[in-house]
Subunit: 627 residues, 2 copies
Amino acid sequence: MIGPVHPSRGSLSPLGIDQARLTSGFWAERQQRNGAATIPHAHSWLERTGWLGNFRLAAAGELAPHLRQGREFSDSEVYKLAEAMAWEIGRGGDAPLDELSIVVAAAQEPGGYLNTMFGRPGQQPRYSDLVWGHELYCYGHLIQAGVARLRTGFEDALTATAIRAADHVCVEFGAAGRQFLCGHPEIEMALVELYRVTGITRYLDQARLFIDRRGQATLPDIELGRAYFQDDMPIRERAAFDGHAVRALYLASGAVDVAVETGDDKLLAAVVRQWERTVAARTYLTGGMGSRHEGEAFGDDFELPTDRAYVETCAAIASVMLSWRLLLATGESRFADLAERTLYNVVAASTSLDGRSFFYTNPLHQRVTGAPMDSSKPWPRASSSERAPWRDVSCCPTNISRTLASLGGYLATADGDGVQIHQYASAEVRAGETGLTVETGYPWRGDVTVRITETGAGPWRLSLRVPGWAGEATLVTPEGTERVRSGYAGVTRTWRVGDQVRLELPVGPRWTTPDPRIDSVRDCIAVERGPLVYCAESVDQDPAVPLEAVAADRSAPVVEHPLPALGPDAVALDVPAAQLPVSANGWPYGSHGDGDQEVGTLRLVPYHLWANRGPATMRVWLPQRRG
Amino acid sequence: MIGPVHPSRGSLSPLGIDQARLTSGFWAERQQRNGAATIPHAHSWLERTGWLGNFRLAAAGELAPHLRQGREFSDSEVYKLAEAMAWEIGRGGDAPLDELSIVVAAAQEPGGYLNTMFGRPGQQPRYSDLVWGHELYCYGHLIQAGVARLRTGFEDALTATAIRAADHVCVEFGAAGRQFLCGHPEIEMALVELYRVTGITRYLDQARLFIDRRGQATLPDIELGRAYFQDDMPIRERAAFDGHAVRALYLASGAVDVAVETGDDKLLAAVVRQWERTVAARTYLTGGMGSRHEGEAFGDDFELPTDRAYVETCAAIASVMLSWRLLLATGESRFADLAERTLYNVVAASTSLDGRSFFYTNPLHQRVTGAPMDSSKPWPRASSSERAPWRDVSCCPTNISRTLASLGGYLATADGDGVQIHQYASAEVRAGETGLTVETGYPWRGDVTVRITETGAGPWRLSLRVPGWAGEATLVTPEGTERVRSGYAGVTRTWRVGDQVRLELPVGPRWTTPDPRIDSVRDCIAVERGPLVYCAESVDQDPAVPLEAVAADRSAPVVEHPLPALGPDAVALDVPAAQLPVSANGWPYGSHGDGDQEVGTLRLVPYHLWANRGPATMRVWLPQRRG
């Protein structure tokens, strides 16, 4: 059994979700809650909205156009839930996947075509709207669900349906087929993964065709430009990720998969270069990507507004998928660093503490307190000041679910030298003859203890990632104690059962300042603590300290407090606050006083926990007090 | 003959475009160029794109759906050009309006319906898509064209067509008709103006119906919310302008017209209150309004990004229309102040120096140099780093044209006490028995000389606006010299022909600082000079001073230079520049040095003149040098 992404080449080999198992703590709790709350929640909404019912009507030949429910991509939510269930079952949980698989399989047509939106009397014909219709995108998610099922040891209706769909795509869109693309990349990585699990090369060939076909101006020049679909230039020629963020990051993930499997080092290098530029100039402190509401898109370099940050949850998940692929391909810790940042500060932030409501956008500044969310119906908009239980476009909940259910697969890897631990969580890890346990209070505490529970006879290397945010850490091994720098620290030795290695990371609060080219946060500071970005939320503040014009004094000490309302280990931070002088004459330019005034204390909470206590305003970045 | 907007009540009475005539200088040159270049340019593009041809095909009964050209609102461009031509003829210019009027009139159907997009075999039925179809919006522009023609002394095919359309609307959408709205407000002010020029009260009644009908959730709850169409709450209850900026400002203008004509002081007060909040928290330094690309909309308070400022040219024109109405209603100089700011820094900026290309959006920061504009075809997008000759959505050029052609009407007013001069331009003004000339080098120079050329026997008051930006000025009258403060300064006396009044405004450069609640410009400074906002454009800079991370030192003197490349009187400003330290390790947070470094001189040019020398980057706001 293995987990998501299993390249046949690359620096590191992933471990399966049965080989790296979360046992307790931050992510284990979220994984449990995903199985107990989020998966059933999504299942019930798929029934309630009729998006699953579409398949039943299709199988019965009763799907008249006016009966079909949901947007053009609603089939994909069913597939993403199926993938989540497959991983959940794979990690030892329970979920009614068989039932779902039968519903999906029954709707597939002879020849492998499957989509509830197209091709029936009164519907648009098959493949008549590849630009916006999402048919190949939906197949991608179906195939990923099938791959998850195969990797966790099953061959069933779902896997057969996925393979039939993939075969259909290879005929319809192959070298001799329609020379066209889906408006939304996704199928590329799905096909490579199916190749990896089946060994059938036509899936890889088809993925490479789709990668190479994109960027030839096949899709129309819409108001947002062809960059929206990444069809303005070949991915090999891009300087940074552009256009719709989820599309760009899914495409890049598929490109890495193709590059790794075909030995196309130039393509891999192109994606790495784009990742670097994007991280240097188009990424939020939270790891979030996608600056623009218009087109759900990346912006220009340093165009990173806080209040209108789009930072779609699905783009964050796509970024983690991409970082993981680049980590496996290169073995470089910077990719695991970004995945960590994104997991703790966007993926974790996206979901409420009860696992039943979700952010679609994840801004770094909420200016206005919205009305309390009406949980009885899908929320019609991407933005909200609270998490919504479901949306008309509800791509995030099922995407979160499949990620959390398979999260064990992102913790650790192996290579010829030994075992590498990339993300810290209490866990049990097995790789070949090696067994170990990880115990940690991360992210609240900085201690990580690894204990050897099984080992072969020869020497091997245990590597632990020292995150970039830490700069340095202390590593205590049976060989002694040493200061280690960001990157991978480790020790090679002949291990014995019971040996321990302890990493001590400096998780204390630290002030962060931004590059001055980022307009929205110029002259501001933020507080981070370990991998967590903090924010000020209005519900915590004294009314005398409105967030609108607050300033923080970085010369003052930051005081830690427990935050029991948001978790037994959660830590809040207090900093002295001042109020900035604001305009009062009706024109906000050139007319306000100098100097600010200390007014009290500002309480900061982990960003990922905000908006769990009712509607609020919030800001991550705080203007600096100048005195 | 009179000009745009002629209320029957209010503090001030407008003068006609034959009574206030621009003679030379900044606006006279633009008005001349509008007649000589922009009107023929727009006319030729309306032919080339087939938007005018739609009317010919309609009249011939040959407008098959596949032959109709342009977007659903393209008819309105023909009407706005007709209005521009009407004012151009009214001010003594020449334009082929008769020809255009005949083409339009011939397409009108029995009963008064007129729209080339709807109602023919194969087209959607009339009024089947009021939400997006713009039928009433188009009538609004047709009626405004008819009003312009009537006010300038003509009754012809155009005026008859406009009146028939208005009568049709009053039947179809009256109290006993369709209880619905147009998605795009516009017809409200057109109907009130038609009432003003004809005295027929049903037009006023219909306008009031439309104003009161909006805000009742008649239109659908789209992704952008009903605020997009201002249908989320009645205009009487709003706190600030919200949603699509052009729609909001056209609606507010219509509401003021209705309020003034019906004596509805509460409605007028509501719009004034919204204007105040919008100016205090939702307006750019240039006077531009509309912060968001998404929905072309106002944002939250203090959500004013510079790089993604939408600031649609048409919203600026709508803001001038609104300010002018509020000035007439109240006599308060703050409305003329905002109109001045908007005219010099958005309306003037929107058009190239040759009068043949136009900005749709007017951001305050251009980060990326685009490719040179291809002038051979309509530009498909709202944004561009250069002005475009025409667009698929080309609302701006004809809106600019009708504004410039009628601009004389915005200069001065009269009331029972005398004459008020609101905007400074060399001009001849007549009001009743009074005649005067204005001579000025404004906006480059601050001297304004008014000379009495005719006068009645009794005393009357000459009032001159002292702009808010000036704070104080010097007024030299036959009675003596005095320091006067922002607002209206003047003198009441029995004038004699040849008497002079001289206003001396301090147009020297000044630094402006922003309210700290505006994220995008925190810790920045801008330079203004008289009514003009300045900017740094990359074409003027030493390559050693890239704009990306430039800082300006406000303690240093600003040096003035002539700028002959952009006009005989144009003034450039030089300030010492420093470079800010930027991140260099691939992550833009927490990793760059302290202290900046002086690198040379930064040249600033008037914002309205930028992008006349090829593609460039640009910024209005400059980070402050901290040393």
